[in-house]
Symmetry: C2
Subunit: 559 residues, 2 copies
């Protein structure tokens, strides 16, 4: 499973089949290297679960041969799983300064952390720096994206060099951080690049993703023309966008108020690592409350409609220091992450209901994507000239289209892989030679559950139907020592009078009593038989009332 001598293998355990949850592995001479270890966010279909992680089982089994984890950048889908999975891997972690700072702050978050995570040491690699891990010579190449310090990794092995792009775009003026290091990419092309493992997110979009500088020009103009209060929602991790909004506020003679913890967290991480030096003072929402409407700009979290974030609280008139209404404007300088459509829609309609004017990327050019569109992909292939294209960071459709597109760009080989595919990059033509275990884990508090866990199935039953508990106390002769008790959760109302509910519980208890009484004497000695009889009797009574069957749990206590 770890290849023959001289073979270079690529193995995605996350990201090949989804946008999110990246986990890439390379193997040369039996030595493994991990690139990124991200999460993805759950939608509402998995009860009680917010975060999904790649199942690391395969590499955990090979962790003695795992040299390290290299992080390309600080987005959650690239490093978010480190706090939860690292204790199973316990290898060195490498990142550039900003990424390292963000990760350190996550780990210091404390509460939800796994035991043993305090042993994690992050080794900082300077921008453009290099690193040697066993047979891998790794160079960090600065690209542009929607967060500071996105890196491609040029991973050189005796079998050839892989250009692992991470997430990128070509932004000629990214505002924060360096431009794309074209010279480095060309240098590696001259040296010969065996394979490029590349971002597929925007492969269906023609043209270019556009520059943060254009967004700045547009936001300055747009905000300059507004009267009343202005609130802007954006992704906290887009530090360039935060700087832009601050600049637009300043240009319009407005003070900038930061609303939401993640914005404070990320701007602090950015300042500590040398970004955002020339920002005007950032005010808290409490300070901002004293300013006149046309002198304030609120930069807010919650552009995805997150119910507890700043924008939703403002929209519900539920924020201690901020109210918006007629004459005020909310600008969404962000995209809609798939799955958040309804939540964002609800948020925007609530704001509209308050009389607030809404502006989004649908009607104004106030957002650019952080991922390469087709012209940028073509440019990257021209620069790097890989022999093999391996699309990642995409759903099945993206990977397929990216592979097709790479062929039109004269890349000799392009291979569509899915999570768990063990791809031999060298020697010989690229070929999937095996398939290893891959999958998803669900973060439940501090615990990791399998997607097949009966805990999730049980919760699904509970959330759909509620639960009834039946208590039976029997003496040595199998006689009931007390009336059966039936109580429910999530079935009948307890706050309001619920006569039908009360009656159903009484009827159910009576039905259980009769069912037990009807059992032959000997059967009453068997807890399972007694329990099953009680369960059936209770279900029968509790069902027709509601056309739903609660889960029924019976406790038989013997005295």
């Amino acid at each position: 499973m770890s290849g023959e001598a001289g073979e270079l293998l690529f193995l995605p355990l996350g990201g090949a089949g989804e946008i999110g949850m990246n986990l890439n592995l390379y193997c040369y001479d039996g030595q493994w290297l991990m690139v990124d270890l991200g999460i993805t966010f759950a939608d509402d279909t998995i009860p009680g679960i917010d975060v999904i992680l790649p199942d690391p089982r395969f590499i955990v089994e090979h962790r003695d041969d795992l040299l390290g984890i290299v992080l390309t950048h600080a987005h959650e889908d690239h490093l978010g799983a480190v706090p939860y999975l690292w204790t199973q891997l316990r290898c060195p972690v490498y990142a550039t300064p900003f990424t390292a700072e963000v990760l350190r702050r996550k780990l210091a978050g404390g509460d939800g952390m796994m035991a043993g995570i305090e042993d994690l040491v992050i080794t900082e690699v300077p921008l453009g720096g290099s690193l040697t891990l066993g047979p891998y010579e790794i160079e960090f190449i600065s690209l542009t994206h929607s967060i500071p310090e996105p890196n491609a990794l040029a991973i050189k092995t005796p079998a050839g060099t892989v250009m692992h792009t991470g997430d990128w775009k070509i932004d000629p003026d990214p505002l924060v951080g360096a431009v794309t290091d074209e010279a480095a990419l060309r240098r590696w092309a001259d040296d010969g690049v065996l394979a490029m493992v590349c971002d597929s997110t925007n492969v269906f979009r023609d043209g270019e993703s556009g520059s943060e500088a254009t967004v700045r020009t547009n936001l300055i103009e747009l905000i300059g023309g507004l009267t009343g209060r202005v609130a802007v929602g954006c992704f906290a991790s887009n530090v360039a966008r935060v700087a832009t909004i601050a600049a637009a506020a300043e240009a319009a003679g407005r003070h900038i108020v930061l609303v939401g913890r993640s914005l404070w967290r990320i701007t602090e991480a950015a300042r500590v690592t040398g970004y955002l030096d020339d920002l005007p003072p950032l005010l808290t929402d409490r300070d901002g409350a004293l300013l006149p409407p046309d002198k304030v700009l609120y930069l807010c979290t919650g552009c995805q409609g997150e119910p507890r974030a700043a924008l939703s609280r403002i929209a519900s008139n539920n924020h201690p220091h901020i109210t918006l209404g007629e004459g005020d404007t909310v600008i969404f300088s962000s995209k809609i992450i798939p799955g958040n459509e309804l939540a964002i829609n609800r948020l925007q309609n609530r704001l509209i209901g308050l009389g607030v004017e809404i502006m989004t990327e649908d009607d104004h050019d106030i957002h650019v994507s952080g991922h390469p569109c087709r012209d940028e992909l073509a440019q990257m292939y021209r620069w790097v000239k890989p022999r093999i294209s391996v699309p990642v960071h995409g759903e099945a459709r993206h990977l397929l289209e990216h592979a097709r597109y790479a062929r039109t760009l004269q890349v000799p080989e392009s291979v569509v892989v899915e999570n768990g595919d063990l791809l031999r990059l060298a020697p010989g033509p690229a070929e999937v030679i095996d398939h290893v275990h891959s999958g998803r884990l669900l973060l439940d508090g501090k615990r990791l559950l399998s997607t097949e866990s009966d805990v999730i199935r049980a919760r699904r039953r509970l959330m759909n139907n509620g639960v009834a508990f039946v208590t039976l106390v029997l003496d040595g002769d199998g006689e009931l020592m007390a009336e059966p008790r039936v109580v429910t959760q999530g079935v009948f109302s307890t706050d309001e009078p619920d006569e039908a509910g009360e009656a159903a519980l009484t009827d159910a208890a009576e039905a259980v009593r009769k069912a037990i009484a009807a059992l032959p004497r000997r059967a009453r000695d068997d807890d399972e038989t007694v329990g099953e009889a009680a369960r059936i009797a209770a279900r029968r009574v509790l069902k027709p009332e509601r056309d739903k069957r609660p889960v029924v749990e019976v406790q038989v206590v013997r005295i």
Copy 2:
């Protein structure tokens, strides 16, 4: 609350603030008329709930003065609540033949019906027919939409005429049913129309929605060029589209196979009422299994990614008679209903994973909306010339934009209302004069719950955290007669070995025992005190293990 003599009032209880769940009321001289009674579908945020209904409390209180319910057409968001709410209203129901047939088949569905629904009598009104209910003279005017027999209602009262459009578009060639009855609309305009209560769905879309005839031309050409198996997903209620797909199959020398119950149900309702007469024979999926790939076209339910519908079962290789793979094509002749993005995406990626080619309205002109775009709205206002525009069938943003747009079309008055607003249309300028109770009810089996119900709150706690159940049996001296029992649902795995779980349950039982033992003798006589002590002890043990707190329910049985 029922207006002064001579006043004409409009009151939306659903549909003004959402696309879906229509419930419109008119009141003249204290006599009420209801137009439509629809549902909306829940997203995954309300545990165990699929269907949401408008809260009819206000009109239930006035049901003695409710003359009847007139249904404009057969879509769920216009008649879907009749089976669940009619028993509270018990008034006559009026509809054109196809709508009546669809409703009758729903009511015959039986299982989930409310007691007393068998008394519901549907009175059929012919297309273009009229109806007098108390002071209301109602004329049905044929429009076009995405289902047979969409009607506007011209509602004439002594205070003036309201044109209630229902859902509509202007399709010059709707394929099934009549074209828009422009003459009737103009005739009413000549007579003078006080107010138009009008569909707002597509107010943000320029131009026209397009014709079913264009979709037919395009699908015939597209399908004619395909080899391999072809499956097409569409909305079952779009009978014209079903006819189109049958025509395209025939033109391509393919037999049409209907896959999914709702397709059979709606085509039968259409045939019974005189539509779809010239359809080729429809095969079942079992019959279709015998046909060669290039001789078959599967018309399937599930274009919204519904997990139990035909397309999802096929995509999961889980359909008894249909498999698709390399060389086959699935065509989505449908739009994405907001909220279904992720489910559709999952479905399409699974199909792509099988090697199937996907075609959607993003890449081919194979779907048209059933609602009016801006040019069609302008045309309707030119035809009807109302004095007042009352936008409905839209979220806050749609209603606001529609009202703005109507003003640009020289409509003298336009009023944005929300559910519960009592709008006086005459005499005098249109004005909201009161606000009555409105809201949403949740269909839970056969029962209706309030959105604030603690049943829903309880289920949300259960689904997030699971539940633990503690049983205590005490004797007359407050001494435990048996070891405390602690069991859980949705907390620990019961299928797989879960050592931590087993240990936690044992520890929790022991903690409960100690907590009871530590209570003073007298406190042990009080069930509430004993229960609370047990709950706290159990929660403390069950929490740190998982960083989540299960709901803890304690039963204290006294012997």
